[in-house]
Symmetry: C2
Subunit: 343 residues, 2 copies
DNA sequence: TTGAAAGCGCTAACAG
DNA sequence: CTGTTAGCGCTTTCAA
């Protein structure tokens, strides 16, 4: 039933030559004055006839490289990561690499298991969007000398390659933007996390208010639990909107928070931007389609993905170069959601 | 710098035994009365100490199976496919398989190239969301005896395994739903395609109208070009809404069409559902968040993905079983967009 | 109980 | 110019 796979030796037999010759010809090495032109031709013809397909497994085993990279992200069904994955996939293919993607669900243990699966499959390197408490992955990869690039999130305590957004700056700009549009009491919703990128976003927001002479009240900052986001965000918003003096704008620090927040706005009949101004991180069709198009800090997904692959390629070439640390600015896309109606 | 990988022979040397023994122990075969218990213990300890990681490449080369499956979809950054990918990934991992995903961009040539890349990487089988004109993939996989399952779309002319939505029925229900809510002049927007699933969706729509005694006018059906969708859909909607007698409802046959259509509604200030009722295929957060939540035919993504993997697993076990053809019903999620306001 | 060795398909050093 | 061969890491048959 299943036709046997064609191997070099099949072709060699058919052509009446040695395996080595076939290998040379088929990997374009006959230029080096190795193989006679007529026999090279014959081999090529036979290979075509038999529809020879090289076994990359064997080749990889032989020379210790698989031309495969492992991509560990939180969840491929989240559009932010899906887009990242797409960029990484495309750019990798351009470099002759195949990508294996794994979703960690922001769970450090799952991510670690995934890493091991991919190591066993002999990936040449990793691109990783880290989750909380996954420093173990970093240290392990470092001790075994496996090349990797951290993407979108990084650990400042470790000297590694990374490609990230300038989160503090992005938040800062989001804050200033709202202030300049007349908002004064600006809330900020983030995940509860010790991750650097989360802290940076909070810091940027706080700096913006402070620099503009606004005294932010502590309870303008809401941190919600990732696992319990759908419900906690409702409480957070309730509190923001029903405080002694309600806030007049909110910055959502991720796409997921924004979507759930906006959903709840609909439920509570909170009107954007009349009742509350909005700027979000992330980017998605949702923001275009909302009745009031949502302003957001456009994270440079395409650049992030491409650069991550580039940095990894460099690292594979030059394992001992100093680490590359790339920071890319986000871009404010101002829409109506942060445009206060003239009173 | 890079620590050498630990192999069986390293452990064997360390333990002063043969490679074979180590292999037996580490693959749990010492039960078969093969290995002495104390030596087995010693081997295990050493393996742990050295942090042995089996080289799956070598194992795969040896026994001709990689425990890898290739997933070919149109575009991982489309939420429908991203969710499919997620389900396939999870279910595969549960079965001890790793997934390699490739995006074809609905391009048959790209898909064929992808297929070859994955074949060279010795995947054990494929799950494929076919694009137009990619029958070649099907015939090729059949002639080389490579197991595969078509997902979401299939070719009725070929006898293959497949797992798909009952598209005709879904469309039919969408049509009936609108009719029962008082809409009479129902337009349908689809991609221009000869693919079976597209034709089926159109057929279901037409049958619904016919069965309810509505004479559908030919220009209620709009087919737009995939590559040029963003602009063609505007024309299509213009025509639907500005005909001699404008339509009063639209069915969008995919997520992408719906998103672009709704975006244009916003631009044209067309109000849903007052000016036009809407039902869409696909599913996404967008539909929740639109000012008027969008009714849609919920495609059973989770089931589709899981079943596809199941069918492939069966096929890998039983290459000669008759083909499994699984059809799963979509489910109408009725929201306000198809709820005509009482006049 | 244990070990030696073949072989999966490929590349490359070496020999002729 | 062409062939022989070792070896990547693993499993498994066969022999001891």
């Amino acid at each position: 039933m299943k036709p046997k796979k064609i191997s070099l030796s099949d072709i060699a037999k058919e052509a009446g030559v040695s395996i080595a010759l076939v290998s040379y010809v088929l990997s374009g090495k006959e230029k080096e004055g190795r193989v006679g032109p007529e026999i090279a031709q014959r081999i090529r013809v036979i290979a075509r006839e038999l529809n020879y397909q090289p076994n990359l497994l064997a080749k990889s085993l032989r020379d210790g490289r698989t031309y495969t990279i492992g991509l560990i992200i939180a969840d491929i069904s989240n559009p932010f990561f899906a887009n990242i994955a797409r960029e990484v996939e495309d750019e990798s293919r351009r470099n002759g690499y195949t990508v294996i993607i794994g979703s960690s669900d922001e769970n450090a243990d799952k991510a670690y298991d995934l890493m091991n699966v991919l190591i066993n499959r002999q990936v040449d390197g990793f691109i990783i969007v880290s989750s909380e408490n996954s420093e173990r992955i970093v240290t392990h990869l470092q001790t075994i000398g496996m090349p990797f690039v951290l993407l979108d999130r990084h650990f400042p305590a470790f000297d590694t390659d990374f490609v990230v957004t300038n989160n503090a700056k992005a938040s800062y700009e989001a804050g200033v933007h709202l202030l300049e549009n007349g908002y004064r009491r600006i809330g900020f919703v983030a995940y509860r996390s010790v991750m650097f990128h989360v802290k940076e976003r909070i810091r940027g927001y706080q700096d913006a208010l402070r620099d503009r002479g606004i005294v932010a009240e502590a309870d303008w900052l809401k941190e919600v639990q990732f696992d319990n986001m759908a419900t906690e965000i409702r409480t957070a918003i309730d509190e923001l909107l029903s405080g002694r003096v309600p806030i007049d704008a909110i910055i959502f620090s991720t796409y997921g928070l924004a979507v759930n927040g906006l959903k709840y706005f609909n439920e509570r009949k909170v009107r954007v931007p009349d009742d509350v101004g909005v700027v979000s991180f992330g980017q998605a069709e949702v923001f275009d389609l909302y009745y009031c198009p949502i302003s957001f800090m456009r994270q440079p997904i395409d650049v992030l993905g491409k650069r991550a692959v580039e940095v990894l390629m460099e690292r594979l070439q030059q394992p001992d170069n100093p680490h590359r640390q790339v920071t890319i600015d986000a871009q404010l896309i101002a829409r109506e959601s942060s445009q206060r109606k003239p009173e």
